[in-house]
């Protein structure tokens, strides 16, 4: 009897680990299949349609512009406020431009964009695919002879890979604008000078660093959203759980991937 709780704990840990490994494997297979259809669908008589890619791009990218712009503007301004507050201790307020320029392009713009797209679209993807799963629409696609990954996931992945980097660059500009606006008020630093100094300190590599991250985030958001949607089995509650998981895992995945990427490239 005394062994029972320990045994069940160990077996639970084992089952959880197995489940996690299985899930990672599943998402990797999903990624490989989505890329396969994007690249070779044409030869298999099942091309990924450009119209579908553009439709998704509007949904996940263009429609996200207002919210991403607002969040980026606030972030830029927040960085300026904190930067000036901290640097004042050393009497080095003038250096705030360097801090804003680097942290926005390398870190904040891709991260803010990724998290907002994960919250907006990751959940929507999971809910859409999950609902299609329980109403047998996924089965209907398969019996018509349409591969669900090619039809639902591949266009989304393409749209994400197109729009997330673009949104990140937009976020760069808006956040810098937010920082410049605050500096203009607080330090009486003309905006022209702010941007002049910004472009002096920034090198292409800083912007590319952020954009590369956004490609990784695009893959994470799409896969976690779609994967959780396909695995829905238990009715409306299942769709709700999948949606929540897609957002939580999507955000966590983005932050962890960000940390690893920064660790590997910035030392």
């Amino acid at each position: 009897m005394t062994l029972n709780p320990l045994l069940s704990f160990v077996s639970q840990v084992g089952q959880r680990s197995l489940q996690s490994v299985r899930e990672v494997g599943y998402h990797a297979a999903l990624l490989a299949e989505a890329f396969y259809w994007l690249l070779f669908g044409h030869w298999r008589r099942q091309p990924v349609r450009l119209g579908a890619v553009f439709k998704e791009a509007v949904g996940v990218g263009v429609n996200a512009i207002p919210i991403v712009a607002l969040a980026s503007f606030a972030t830029g301004m927040m960085l300026a406020i904190q930067g000036i507050y901290t640097l004042r201790t050393f009497g080095a307020e003038g250096q705030v431009v360097l801090g804003i320029a680097l942290s926005v392009t390398r870190e904040f713009a891709p991260l803010i964009t990724g998290i907002f797209v994960a919250g907006r679209s990751g959940s929507a993807i999971a809910a859409r695919i999950g609902t299609m799963q329980i109403s047998q629409e996924i089965d209907a696609l398969r019996v018509i002879g349409i591969n669900p990954v090619r039809y639902l996931v591949a266009p989304l992945l393409a749209a994400m890979l197109l729009t997330l980097p673009a949104l990140t660059i937009l976020s760069d500009l808006v956040a810098l604008f937010g920082g410049a606006l605050y500096c203009a008020g607080e330090l009486s630093l003309p905006m022209g000078i702010f941007f002049e100094r910004t472009f002096e300190v920034l090198v292409a590599e800083d912007v590319i660093h952020g954009v590369l991250k956004s490609f990784i985030f695009a893959v994470i958001v799409t896969l976690i959203g779609a994967g959780n949607g396909f695995n829905v089995s238990a009715g409306a509650e299942g769709v709700g759980q999948a949606t929540t998981r897609a957002v939580v895992l999507g955000c966590i995945g983005i932050i962890l991937a960000d940390m690893v990427f920064t660790f590997l490239t910035s030392r």
């Binding site: 009897m1 047998q136 398969r142 019996v143 002879g145």
Partner: protein
């Protein structure tokens, strides 16, 4: 019966869900141009059998030959070609909610053919005429009633003029008049287009009205697969109780009963 005019030939099909056996040694045939009704109570395995016939799952063992091809052995490309000759109307319709009725019906044409836009539209309207839904092509699925959804799903299933049509529970959730109309429609499709039609149902009245032959499933096994008259005349107890809507009165084994109640209690 000659093997070449068999549209469906299932032999020794065994399937599992996890470690639980769902279908056990299923064998039956259907000829081209025949309506085969698969009948059975809830939990008899008829939905599972349908999903295997559609190639949505891989069986544990046995073979399923559709139009002469064993779908358990086909490559993805061969299956893709075979699917052009198969139409399926799901129980809940499974219409794509983001598309209009017309777009739903056009989808198979759009994916499998290179017809121009107007031809596809005319063809989808023709099929909507067949199922009495003319003029509804611009509505969304959420704006349709239950019977209309089933008919729209049927229109989508037949838009490629398939040789095989599968229909899951055509009369479930419909009033008697609408379900009688659907039965008529199924008969018309067989006569006009020489389709082989597999209907899965638990509605006796509808089954006897449309079937050429009936396969009766019970607890994952085939009780019989024969003509309507033979099924009616069967002396099998389970078939008779299914036909006469008698409840199952299985004797309870006291030991098993106690075991079930006390299982996993320490």
């Amino acid at each position: 019966m000659n093997a070449t005019d068999l549209a469906i030939d299932v032999s020794h099909l065994v399937t599992h869900y996890g470690s639980r056996k769902i279908l056990d040694d299923i064998s039956f045939q259907a000829r081209q141009g025949e309506i085969m009704v698969i009948m059975g109570g809830s939990g008899s395995g008829k939905s599972t059998l349908l999903r295997h016939l559609l190639g949505l799952h891989q069986p544990t063992s046995g073979s399923i030959r559709l139009l002469g091809k064993d779908i358990t052995q086909l490559s993805a490309d061969e299956m893709y070609d075979l699917r052009k000759n198969m139409g399926v109307a799901f129980q809940g319709g499974a219409l794509f909610n983001s598309m209009t009725v017309g777009e739903n019906v056009e989808l198979p044409l759009r994916e499998h053919t290179r017809l121009d836009e107007n031809t596809m539209r005319i063809m989808s309207r023709m099929k909507l005429e067949v199922v009495n839904l003319a003029g509804f092509e611009n509505l969304m699925p959420s704006e349709l009633s239950g019977g209309m959804i089933k008919r729209a799903a049927l229109a989508r299933a037949i838009v490629m003029d398939p040789r095989l049509l599968f229909f899951d529970e055509p009369s479930a959730g419909l009033d008697p008049v609408v379900s009688a109309e659907l039965d008529e429609l199924i008969l018309i499709l067989r006569d006009a287009m020489n389709m082989t039609i597999v209907v899965v149902t638990h509605e006796l009245e509808s089954a006897f009205k449309i079937a050429d032959r009936i396969t009766v499933l019970d607890q994952g096994r085939i009780l019989m697969s024969d003509t309507v008259a033979a099924v009616r005349a069967s002396s099998n107890e389970r078939i008779q109780s299914l036909l006469n809507r008698k409840p199952r009165n299985e004797a309870i084994n006291p030991d098993e009963y106690m075991e079930r109640l006390t299982r996993e209690i320490f």
